[in-house]
């Protein structure tokens, strides 16, 4: 059968995993493994993916994986790389696969240490914008105005009060060779970025925007289409930073933020003035990104 496929056909993730209906994080893992191939070692901390491979003795992953404590993903991938170096095995990809809480909040110091030591590893943050595995608690990556079980809205309007933490900017400040953002709605782009990251020596970081129908209170069938709306409303931006030079990989036409928010139960309580405030913040962040792209590309062009 000669089917025309846009992504590799090899599957390194089996069905029968414990992910919810329409889980974006499982799509992220499927695409990352398609890009990285069989010679890969994964390190997974406490997150949805610590549960999803299945209950012992089952696993849905066809590559070796190490479960680590919540805050140690960065340190564990450094250790795996050091062990492989000691054994003289150079052709193995070492990938840390952590959620947004395990990256933006709990795992940030271990990740910072890895980037500081310039270890040859890839760190992937799959971003579903809250601690979904433990029951939808807010994380640093939760956007402004969101309902979660720890920001329960109620009568006092007790929603999430701070905007989404800019983890790519934190990683850019470490001066690592490759940083990218991707989303599960564009697997070709995601796979290209993972392959590119694995071809570069040094610490690499990729943030994957992966919808969570359970925690976002939306129809699981919308997992793919909601990522396209997230990009066009600037709720998430696709770009890569290669040796300090920014490049925005997708510049879709702007659509109103309200349409994106009202499809998700976690935003449905938001009053119009709050939506306007959030939209202004997202537009400013996108403009800053455009300026960064222009400035860094001009600088790179003049230094050559």
């Amino acid at each position: 059968m000669m089917a025309k496929l846009t992504i590799p056909e090899e599957e390194l993730m089996s069905p029968g995993h414990m992910g919810c209906l329409g889980c974006g994080a499982t799509q992220a893992m499927r695409y990352v493994l398609k890009a990285a191939g069989k010679r890969t070692i994964l390190s997974i901390p406490a997150c949805c993916w610590a549960v999803m491979p299945g209950v012992w003795p089952n696993t849905c992953l066809q590559v070796p994986e190490l479960y680590t404590p919540f805050e140690t993903t960065g340190a564990s991938i450094s250790g795996i790389r050091a062990a492989l170096d000691a054994l003289g095995q150079e052709d193995i990809n070492v990938i840390g696969f952590a959620g947004d809480g395990g990256t933006a909040d709990i795992g940030i110091q271990a990740l910072s240490g890895t980037a500081d030591r310039e270890d040859d590893v890839l760190y992937i943050m799959y971003d579903n914008e809250a601690y979904m595995n433990t029951g939808i608690q807010r994380s640093g990556s939760t956007p402004l105005g969101t309902w979660t079980t720890t920001t329960p809205v109620g009568v006092k309007g007790d929603w999430e009060k701070s905007p989404k933490k800019n983890v790519t900017a934190i990683m850019a400040a470490h001066g690592i060779p490759y940083i990218a953002t991707a989303t599960t709605g564009y697997p070709e782009d995601l796979i290209r970025k993972v392959k590119k990251a694995l071809s570069i020596k040094g610490t690499k970081f990729i943030q994957i925007f992966s919808p969570c129908p359970t925690g976002w209170k939306m129809d699981p069938a919308l997992t793919v289409s909601i990522t396209k709306e997230a990009l066009s409303t600037r709720a998430f931006n696709l770009f890569e930073i290669e040796n300090g030079v920014y490049r925005i990989t997708m510049k879709p036409k702007k659509t109103p933020l309200k349409e994106y928010l009202m499809k998700q139960g976690r935003f449905r309580h938001m009053p119009d003035d709050l939506i306007a405030k959030v939209e202004a913040g997202l537009d400013t962040a996108y403009e800053n990104l455009l300026h960064l792209e222009e400035f860094t590309q001009k600088k790179a062009g003049s230094s050559q």
Binding site: M1, L5, P15, G16, M18, G22, T59
Partner: protein
């Protein structure tokens, strides 16, 4: 499965492929593909989070033992040839 203490590894190691777990029981809506209308673009295969769609000459073949019925395939299909039918019908 290990029998004696000596056979038990120091840390638990998962060795059984998860395909033995039949997650199809979670399903409330069953996807049915009209293969006459299918244009073989394989968007459904590409986006399936449960790896439950196989590629064949006639169009997608569903693995109903594992499909959880999320409806992503029906949503991404450009010609809308996949229908979600309630399981109790």
């Amino acid at each position: 499965m290990p029998g004696t203490m000596d056979e038990i590894p120091i840390t638990p190691i998962n060795t059984v492929n998860s395909t033995v777990v039949k997650t199809g029981g979670w399903r409330a809506f069953r996807p049915i593909c009209d293969t006459e209308k299918c244009i073989k673009c394989w968007s459904c295969w590409k986006f399936c989070p449960d790896v439950s769609i196989a590629i064949s000459e006639n169009g997608p073949v569903y693995d109903y033992d594992h499909c959880k019925g999320c409806g992503i395939c029906a949503n991404v299909c450009p010609v809308k040839c996949i229908e979600m039918i309630p399981e109790n019908k």
